[in-house]
């Protein structure tokens, strides 16, 4: 038992449980995991990996299950699949050691944050420009690009490597637009947290259904996308329209970024609150700290961004700029190894599931 790599034990345990589910099938209507599983009779490791990434940990199946402890079958499918997710994401990550570190350790993630902020303070001191407007008075545009272009592109490359590994393991086919579209619609609606005909998931209120987690996640998800769109629009304005920052209130970066930041902060706070109330034993307890730290980091990117905007024209701009950009730097660099990566694997699993339904 113990000389096996841990990957196998989590996958084996999940396989044991899914095989029992396959003989029962009562949970078919909750989410995509069950119809996906019930088309098969035997489950290869890649099948279990795919089911695990499809599972959004809504926990409906756990509370509905007649075979949870103390029953001898001791089913806890949300936890079993959560463990598989953790281990598979570590396996796919490049380099995988970072994933072990940042998924499991909130302390490591906090340390990354401190380092990120320190780097920015150093940059503000060492690379102080002779002249510039707005933020560029503190850190030149070229210095920002020198830091953030690699900090954005390198993680994307690492994620691409991970996704390729995932795709190979689950036996994915060539991705076509209808599959991608189906996955995007699922993700945008968080259909797998809807509970099927029930109302939401069984997360923070035991066996009572609640839309809390779905709504909080939607706030974070759309808030993040708005913030990302704000930054992207700034880049476009800078390079295409030759309109560098700073931007006024009635500009795309502000009109997107302000509501985005607020949604991100509120959603993150709510997600952490729900996570504190939820039963940790129905997830992967080993990454609980890392997950909370990740959501906090995400919320902090929004909060420091809002604070920076609020401090416009005051002496606080320089330190807040370092705080915000440092937070963003830590967030980007750890993305392939933190809970953030779940979005990419979930998307991949949804695309794969659309292919299964199509087949």
């Amino acid at each position: 038992m113990y000389d096996q790599p841990p990957t196998l034990t989590a996958t084996e345990e999940a396989r044991r449980q899914v095989e029992i589910c396959n003989a029962c099938r009562y949970c078919e209507g909750y989410c995509a995991v069950f119809p996906s599983a019930f088309g098969q009779r035997a489950f290869a490791d890649g099948d279990i990996t795919q089911l695990a990434s499809l599972c959004h940990n809504c926990r409906g199946c756990y509370y509905a299950c007649q075979y949870t402890e103390p029953h001898e079958f001791a089913l806890n499918l949300p936890a079993a699949l959560a463990e598989v997710r953790v281990e598979s994401w570590e396996r796919f990550a490049w380099p995988s050691g970072f994933a072990r570190l940042f998924q499991r350790s909130g302390v490591a993630l906090s340390l990354a944050l401190v380092i990120g902020i320190a780097v920015l303070f150093w940059a503000l001191t060492a690379l102080a420009p002779a002249s510039g407007e707005g933020f560029y008075a503190y850190l030149s545009h070229s210095a920002m690009v020198a830091i953030f272009a690699p900090a954005f592109l390198l993680p994307l490359a690492a994620i691409a490597i991970g996704l390729r590994r995932y795709w190979a393991e689950v036996g994915g086919a060539r991705v076509r637009w209808p599959h991608l579209k189906a996955a995007l619609v699922d993700a945008a609606q968080l259909r797998n947290l809807s509970g099927g005909a029930a109302k939401g998931c069984n997360f923070e209120k035991g066996d009572r259904y609640s839309q809390g987690r779905r709504h909080a996640h939607q706030a974070v998800f759309w808030g993040f996308l708005l913030c990302f769109a704000a930054t992207s629009s700034g880049t476009v304005l800078h390079y295409v329209f030759d309109r560098p920052a700073p931007y006024g209130f009635f500009s795309l970066p502000k009109l997107l970024g302000l509501p985005g930041g607020i949604l991100l902060v509120l959603g993150s706070m709510l997600l952490i609150r729900l996570k504190l109330k939820a039963d940790a034993s129905l997830g992967a307890p080993s990454v609980w700290g890392g997950e909370v730290a990740f959501v906090a980091l995400l919320g902090l990117t929004g909060l420091t961004g809002l604070a920076l905007y609020a401090a416009t024209g005051t002496a606080l701009v320089a330190p807040l700029l370092a705080l915000h950009l440092g937070t963003v730097l830590a967030f980007f660099l750890t993305t392939p190894y933190s809970k953030m990566v779940h979005g990419f694997y979930r998307m991949a699993s949804l695309v794969r599931d659309a292919q299964r339904k199509d087949a």
């Binding site: 029992i20 029962c24 099938r25 009562y26 949970c27 009779r41 509370y63 299950c65 007649q66 005909a197």
Partner: protein
């Protein structure tokens, strides 16, 4: 727990499954303060309801997840067919008619439904499936009951029912290690049958019943039922009979539930401990035959049988929770199953020799029958020739017992002289009035829901 015996409760409900919860919700909505005494600990609450998956429902047109329509006459005919007339037509028709309004009521009280499960398309018109199954339904009802102020005590085992003449006065229950007397102005009995009391089962059925497996809850020991019968309550249903299906012989003694079912019989030859066949495995499609196989296996030596298939049939039925025994030869398989190898070989050879050419259709009666074999296999008879060979053991799995309390259409229990003044019954404990024999999928939940609701309403109106 000290407050339990402080003052009389408006209503004492014995049992914690679907019928009990429907009764409690109705009574609480009518302004009563009911007490539920559930014998099981909280994780196992809900009696056999936690193992159910659907509810058979009359409807005039598409209703919620139900397709088409399912009218009273067809529903009643289905019931007559399985019970062979062992039913009270008045009660049965009332139950059927009332089932239609139950579905929206269940939805309004927290139950979510899902389309018919894969492998059960034949039920999509007649049976509404609970999303997540019976335990999810039980959870929803407990939450609704809690919100309505219903008090529930778990691990509260009722040992005595106190009746003076035609009036219920109170119960004695073991709660937290102490026996206490709990007074109430009315009583609803929704505590199920007696199938988990193996001694009672052995007295009723015969000693072989000790080898039966109990598919559902170990907490239905029939104590309140026996108390009432001892007090002269009218009984219904054959006291010696239980509903038993053939399930995986390796299942746990209790609570194996749905996953212990085996659907391989129609594609197999079934032999007993001595290696002999004893019944037509291909008589009809499995959903129509699994129930009689419980009795067939119960009649075999040591109440066990073995279903043997070969490689070509392995994927024709729903996957089983326990993997089959497997061997490359029939002798090897016989050894693993503890069967006489020569005899199994002889039986299978004789069967194979009686098979004839023809088209095989696993999902319909294909008429592919043996010739000159006793007993015959009248459908799906393909020779068992392609290794590896697989074998499953089969044992009778008891679902419920038929003996129950006689009730009228207001769910009131009949006493020695007349009806009891303030005692009602709902669910398995009175189902024998309507379901005297056989079983109709999802009908137990229908009886429980209809009579649970009536019992709750009536109790609220009369105590």
């Amino acid at each position: 727990m000290t407050t339990l015996d402080a003052a009389p409760w408006d209503l004492v409900i014995v049992g914690g499954g679907n019928a009990a919860l429907c009764a409690a919700i109705e009574a609480a909505e009518a302004g009563m303060r009911p007490l539920i005494l559930e014998a099981a600990p909280k994780p196992y609450r809900g009696g056999n309801s936690r193992h159910t998956r659907n509810f058979r429902c009359m409807h005039h047109g598409p209703l919620s997840v139900l397709t088409g329509s399912y009218e009273e006459e067809e529903y009643f005919d289905d019931l007559l067919r399985v019970t062979k007339g062992e039913t009270d037509e008045g009660l049965a028709r009332m139950t059927i008619r009332r089932s239609e309004e139950c579905l929206p009521w269940m939805e309004a009280h927290g139950v979510a439904f899902q389309p018919s499960l894969s492998g059960t398309l034949s039920l999509s018109r007649t049976n509404a499936f609970f999303l997540g199954g019976g335990k999810a339904l039980v959870n929803a009802f407990y939450n609704t009951a809690e919100d309505l102020g219903v008090t529930t005590v778990y691990e509260a085992e009722v040992t005595q029912v106190h009746v003076d003449g035609d009036r219920f006065e109170g119960v004695t229950a073991k709660v937290g290690g102490a026996e206490i007397r709990i007074e109430g102005r009315g009583l609803i009995l929704a505590s199920g049958g007696f199938q988990a009391d193996l001694d009672w089962l052995a007295r009723a059925w015969g000693p072989s019943a000790r080898n039966f497996l109990i598919r559902g809850t170990p907490y239905n020991r029939g104590v309140p039922l026996k108390q009432m019968l001892d007090k002269g309550a009218d009984s219904v249903g054959d006291p010696t009979q239980c509903h038993a299906v053939a399930i995986d012989g390796r299942a746990a003694k209790f609570d194996g539930g749905i996953v212990t079912r085996l659907d391989c019989v129609p594609f197999s030859v079934v032999v007993n401990r001595d290696g002999d066949r004893f019944y037509d495995e291909g008589e009809d499609v499995w959903p129509k035959r699994y129930a009689i196989w419980g009795r067939l296996v119960a009649a075999q030596p040591e109440q066990v049988a073995y279903s043997i298939i070969d490689a070509k049939s392995l994927e024709l039925f729903m996957p089983s929770v326990y993997p089959p025994e497997r061997a490359d030869t029939l002798e090897g398989l016989a050894q693993k199953l503890g069967l006489p190898g020569n005899k199994l070989r002889e039986t299978v050879d004789a069967f194979n020799a009686a098979c004839r050419e023809g088209d095989f259709h696993p999902t319909e009666l294909d008429g592919l029958s043996t010739e000159g074999l006793t007993p015959p296999k009248t459908n799906w008879a393909r020779p068992i020739t392609e290794p590896p060979f697989y074998g499953y053991s089969l044992r009778p799995g008891v679902t419920f017992t038929y003996l129950g309390l006689k009730v009228d259409e207001t769910a009131r229990v009949s006493g020695p002289d007349a009806r009891f003044a303030n005692i009602w019954a709902a669910g398995e404990i009175m189902a024998g009035s309507i379901l005297g024999q056989g079983y109709l999928a999802g009908f137990g939940m229908t009886i429980g829901t209809v009579f649970g609701r009536i019992a709750g309403q009536e109790a609220a109106a009369h105590v």
